[in-house]
């Protein structure tokens, strides 16, 4: 009990926004800034200057003259500048305008009669209770209403129309039609007169934001920590943009003050006043409409206060909502099928840099001593020791590690290297969904890349053409526990997007799964044993299916070993030919998967049963019925046999696979030439005016449509011919049919005919006058001239065909670029709108302010990630269970 530490944490409960009053600015200031000079001849900061030592310290080894701290500890301190004349804060100019119009120019009362104020206050109280934003909308309406009144109901003074000229000039239009400029002093005077009660109605909190404070009389000078100067290698000091701007302000202010004191003509004073206003306006925001931005000496616009906050790289999005972290690593990824899906291979070099703080206890002291002895340069080692008094020992500089290791005692903290089994977070950008960051268990490996199992490629959307990924090391037990329980790869097999497995077989896994479960796959004892051994299987071999001439096992048998013994499943395979009448398990193509009691009785494994991003498959049933542990086990064992089998048997695709026999090529050519004639006929018919326009289309559109249909049919026909000559013994077709990669259309395009190239969904028509390319006659609208490619990839395209293909290809690239930008922005908006919604303990969905968005999440309270493709209950599985129980 005695060594329990109590940690008291202070938490920010709320943040109140308001304006700084001149008094407050003076009070929080450590010094008035009086000169725009920064340093003296010796390079020392001038007292009362912009770099006054009392404003904080950024130089290492120099104490702050106000708080006595060094850099890092000293938060910086504000100074202030007394302005010779008041100046409008540009960001509040609009608010000032609204206030000036809504209040009396003489007595400062709101331009609404007493009874109306009372009524509106009642209304406001009601609205406020419903939703806080109504309060401000109501205030806007009040202001508008008041502005319509041209006579003050209290002092009966006549109100003039006020004109606001962006960004900060105000004029009053008198009856004579002359516009009189209102100086900031006039404005401030008027704002001062507005009563607190009236301000409340106008949506202003007078306690924290008196309107006259928007007209500055004192300017806070931010601490140096906010605007650090940088020293270049040449020794030249370069000041921050803000310091430059403040310098300008101080200089003009000084001149203005002197002019006023010297009694200069008002014209000159007004000019200088205007200049001061300009400098202060651009100090706050250098992108104000209607005024030129302040420039640096080099011509680059200055980055002043508003620019620092705004935008993607601004303070909010760049520094506050998105933070940089320690304990992270990034490198190229490469595949390793021998890892578990839960693992990640970490290069030893990285493992030696990333550390985990581990507290020394009686139980791990020996272990940690070993690590300390290994030191920072030998792999399972440690980089630092933190003594109970907080002192850090850097093991790089310790001579006698052995001796140090012996001093280790409970209560010390050892910052040890990453080692096998540690839980880390692994991430690939763009992080579009929660499966983009998953927890993996570390496996320290040689070489320099992160290694991952191929099955986790789909959730990360990763491939190995140079992709890089990030790795983060959680630093405390709480974080590690959460990562392990919630974020581990196996816990993310089911996607919350559609309630089905997002992790599953891809590419070679599918090919292998199909090959091994095919009817003709028979394995000798040696091969079968090799496969099983590699997965770590330690059970018995099943009875061989064939005894003579030698003991042979079917692939289905071997795969069935990994299936749970009470698993029942049936469903169509991806290679299904979609016959008119389905013979189910008697399918002549072996395309109906039937599993009874964990035995594959018929059918093959392919994309339809084990594929990634497919719902209601065998894999899905396994995850739902046996849990994620079992699913992971199957992926680490059964799936591994698929690629091992491919390795044993050999599988390749070559140019030969795209060969069509001579008669097939002739057949395709015949179809294409026939179609050309047909199109010709249609065009002639249209020219004769015999073509009937389709409803809702012009004649031209109908013609195009008709041609497009005919040509599309031709390509389909070519494809049919090609697939008639190519069967599942063709590797390319096999991959397409099983769903491993590509589709039949791709194969058609490679072997038979590429088909119509299109731009914006139409045949290619733009380019030269009346023809896309100069190789054709003007007005030729035949297939060849408008981008129909007769050729195929195997035999090659003609030059014009190649060009048309490139045109269509370019459109695709442009489309993708535009799309990512558009969908990225939509996603950002969705995320920002919905991020605060969560399920409360009463089952309702609530926003951050506590409003009810849904009384019950999704109307039935079901989590899609835990559902069976959207449905909460899988009745079939339950029925199976009930019935099997009955049999017993």
């Amino acid at each position: 009990m005695s060594n329990i530490e109590f940690q008291t944490t202070t938490r920010i409960a709320a943040i109140k926004f308001g304006l700084l009053s001149p008094d407050l600015i003076r009070k929080m200031s450590v010094t008035a800034i009086v000169t725009s000079d920064t340093y003296d001849e010796e390079g020392m900061p001038i007292r009362g200057g912009l770099m006054d030592r009392r404003l904080g310290t950024i130089e290492p080894g120099v104490r702050c003259e106000t708080c006595g701290n060094y850099t890092g500890q000293c938060p910086g301190h504000f100074g202030h500048l007394e302005l010779a004349r008041p100046v409008i804060h540009p960001e509040f100019a609009k608010k000032i305008y609204i206030l000036l119009r809504a209040t009396c120019r003489y007595c400062g009362r709101i331009l609404l009669p007493e009874e109306e104020i009372k009524k509106e206050l009642e209304k406001r109280k009601r609205l406020e209770k419903i939703w806080i934003h109504f309060k401000y909308r109501h205030a806007e309406r009040i202001a508008k209403k008041a502005a319509k009144n041209s006579e003050c109901p209290y002092c009966h003074a006549k109100q003039y129309k006020i004109k606001f000229e962006k960004p900060y000039s105000f004029y009053e239009e008198r009856e004579e039609g002359t516009a009189i400029k209102l100086t900031p002093s006039d404005i401030r005077e008027r704002l001062e007169k507005i009563r607190d009660e009236d301000l409340v109605l106008l949506g202003i909190d007078p306690e924290y934001a008196r309107p006259e404070w928007t007209v500055l009389t004192v300017l806070p000078v931010p601490p140096i920590t906010v605007r650090p100067s940088i020293t270049l290698e040449t020794g030249i000091r370069s000041e921050d943009d803000l310091t430059h701007k403040l310098g300008d302000i101080i200089r003009v202010n000084q001149r203005l003050k002197e002019s006023i004191e010297a009694g200069a003509p008002s014209l000159i004073i007004d000019d200088m006043w205007e200049l001061l206003q300009y400098h202060i306006a651009t100090y706050f925001n250098n992108e104000l409409p209607g005024i030129p931005p302040a420039k640096h000496k080099s011509g680059r616009p200055l980055r002043t206060l508003a620019q620092r906050l705004k935008g993607k790289e601004g303070r909010f999005r760049g520094s506050l909502a998105g933070k940089r972290v320690d304990f992270s690593a990034r490198t190229v990824i490469s595949p390793d099928p021998n890892l578990s899906i839960n693992e990640v291979g970490v290069p030893e070099e990285i493992a030696k840099i990333l550390v985990i703080p581990e507290k020394v206890t009686e139980w791990n002291i020996e272990e940690l001593r070993k690590l300390v002895k290994n030191g920072p340069y030998k792999h399972p080692g440690a980089n630092y020791i933190v003594r109970p008094d907080g002192a850090r020992v850097d093991l790089r500089y310790v001579r006698d590690l052995e001796a140090l290791a012996e001093t280790l005692a409970p209560g010390y903290i050892v910052e040890r290297h990453l080692k096998d089994g540690d839980v880390v977070l692994f991430n690939r950008q763009p992080s579009l969904h929660r499966m983009s960051i998953m927890a993996h268990k570390v496996k320290v490996l040689p070489y320099k890349t992160f290694r991952l199992n191929l099955l986790v490629c789909p959730p990360y959307n990763a491939d190995f053409d140079g992709d890089e990924m990030n790795l983060h090391v959680p630093q405390n037990e709480e974080a590690r526990a959460e990562a392990k329980v919630l974020m581990l790869v196996q816990e993310q097999i089911l996607s919350p997007r559609y309630g089905g497995p997002i992790i599953g077989a891809i590419h070679d896994y599918i090919t292998g799964g199909y090959m091994i479960t095919r009817k003709d796959s028979l394995l000798t004892k040696e091969k079968a044993a090799t496969l099983l051994y590699e997965t770590g299987y330690e059970g018995e071999m099943p009875e061989p299916a064939i005894l003579k001439p030698g003991e042979m096992w079917t692939g289905k048998q071997i795969i069935s070993i990994f299936l749970p013994p009470d698993l029942d499943f049936e469903g169509k395979c991806a290679i299904c030919e979609k016959c008119d009448t389905c013979l189910f398990e008697d399918c002549p193509y072996d395309a109906y998967l039937l599993i009874r009691k964990g035995e594959i009785l018929a059918g093959v494994l392919d994309k339809a049963s084990i594929g990634a991003q497919k719902s209601e498959t065998l894999l899905h049933v396994i995850v739902k019925k046996y849990g994620t542990d079992k699913a992971r086990e199957i992926m680490d064992t059964m799936f591994k046999t698929f690629i091992l089998y491919l390795d044993l048997k050999g599988f390749s695709m070559s140019l030969d696979n795209l060969d069509l026999p001579q008669e097939a090529r002739e057949e395709v050519a015949k179809v294409l030439s026939e179609v050309e004639k047909e199109v010709d006929e249609i065009i002639k018919k249209a020219a004769r005016g015999e073509l009937q326009p389709k409803p809702g289309m012009t004649l031209r559109e109908s013609l195009e449509n008709e041609i497009l249909n005919v040509l599309e049919r031709a390509r389909e026909e070519a494809g049919r011919i090609a697939s008639r000559y190519l069967g599942l013994n063709n590797s390319a077709v096999l991959m397409a049919k099983t769903g491993a990669r590509a589709n039949i259309l791709n194969i058609t395009q490679m072997t038979a005919c590429l088909g119509q190239q299109s731009i914006r969904g139409k045949r290619i028509s733009r380019g030269y006058l009346d023809r896309p390319l100069p190789h054709f006659k003007r007005g030729d609208i035949g297939p060849r001239a408008r981008g129909f490619v007769y050729g195929n990839f195997k035999e090659g395209l003609s030059p014009t065909e190649f060009f048309y293909h490139a045109m269509a290809g370019r459109e695709g690239l442009v489309d993708t670029a535009v799309r990512t930008a558009q969908s990225g922005y939509m996603y950002r908006r969705l995320a920002n709108a919905l991020q605060d919604l969560y399920v409360a303990y009463d089952g309702s969905v609530r926003s951050a302010e506590g409003s009810v968005i849904q009384l019950r999440y999704g109307e039935d309270g079901v989590d899609p990630a835990k559902s069976y493709h959207g449905r909460p209950i899988n009745y079939d599985l339950i029925l199976q269970r009930i019935k099997s129980r009955k049999v017993k």
């Binding site: 308001g18 489309d815 995320a831 209950i873």
Partner: protein, 406 residues
Amino acid sequence: MGRRKEKKKKSYKEEVRNIVYSYSDKLPENILQEIETIALREKLEKDELHAFIEECVKEYNNALVEPGEAVGMVAAQSIGEPSTQMTLRTFHFAGVREFNITLGLPRLIEIVDARKSPSTPITYIYLDEKHRYDEEKAKEVARRIELTTIENVASEWELDYLTSTITIRLDPEMLADKGVTAKDVVKAINKIKGKKGKVWMEDEYTVIFETEITDMSKLKRMLDRVKDLRLKGIKGIRKIILRPVKTEDGKVEYMLVAEGSNFSAILEVEGVDPTRTITNNIVEVAEVLGIEAARRVIIKEMQEVLSEQGLDVDIRHIMLVADAMTYTGQVRQVGRHGVAGEKISPLARATFEVTVKHLTDAAIHGEVDQLTGVVENVIVGSAPIPMGTGLIELLMIFPRKKGGEG
């Protein structure tokens, strides 16, 4: 014999029903219904049925959302992630090839933007009992709705600058098809505001409009104005397609698909079944039918866009987006002028877009950020964030040591 069997069957049905509905406190209505049909289909015995329902209850409870689950973020991800795979610029055909409707990413963006009018508004008009089974009658309704302008029924124009007359020759076929006569044309021209000059029918198919306009360009403009004059139909409805559809009971009924939307006007047309007619214009639906209908349209439209692209997204995510857009009683867009821009936290708003404005407004209003959302807490760096596992607060009371201060 037969009667007894009948009776037994009936009582079995009743029994199943009784058993199933005795669980109504544990399972929602729609699931109970499903269980009932399955039980009857599988002819489950009493004990089996009980066991079956018990298992269902277990599985249902296992499938429920955990309190604290960040369902909003999951919904945003579930819609945002697949949207990268969507095709851009898809103009697809609505059923028949008559007209295109925007689909794909542009349409999805349109929906979450809650645009005042979609780029391709479509109204699906169902007809009432009297009109729906007869093609002719359906056409009649279509004629009432489809906007017919003079241009639609004219075959030829003549513009005489000398006498400043416009001669319109009408197409007899079109007149018959649209069900208008030359008289209607004259009437329409007479309705022009501030019209000067005379209009008369030369013969059955010719209308002459003698204007007093001498300015040539003005005369031309007048011609354009005449062309656009409405003879019949509803403003904004450009084209109507008649479409036969099979009803649930196997009959064929006719419905109309109209390009353009003018929902409130269409609902009042005789022959239209206002209970089924719907448009894809969300804002209009909200105005005419109310917010619940708008929510339903948002869900339906989003589902259609996603499924047309072959993207599998759970309906719960879509419903959450629709609810977030509509729960205030008004359709709000997802974005700066809607859901994301009206959060209570000034920090959260400033983080999204228009940073400076939100900060200055918050200052002058004297707003307080209570730090209840996600970004606010990320900004101030407070752990945990009040969501998911961070929602739980654990207070541990340590046993006090005797004599010690604990």
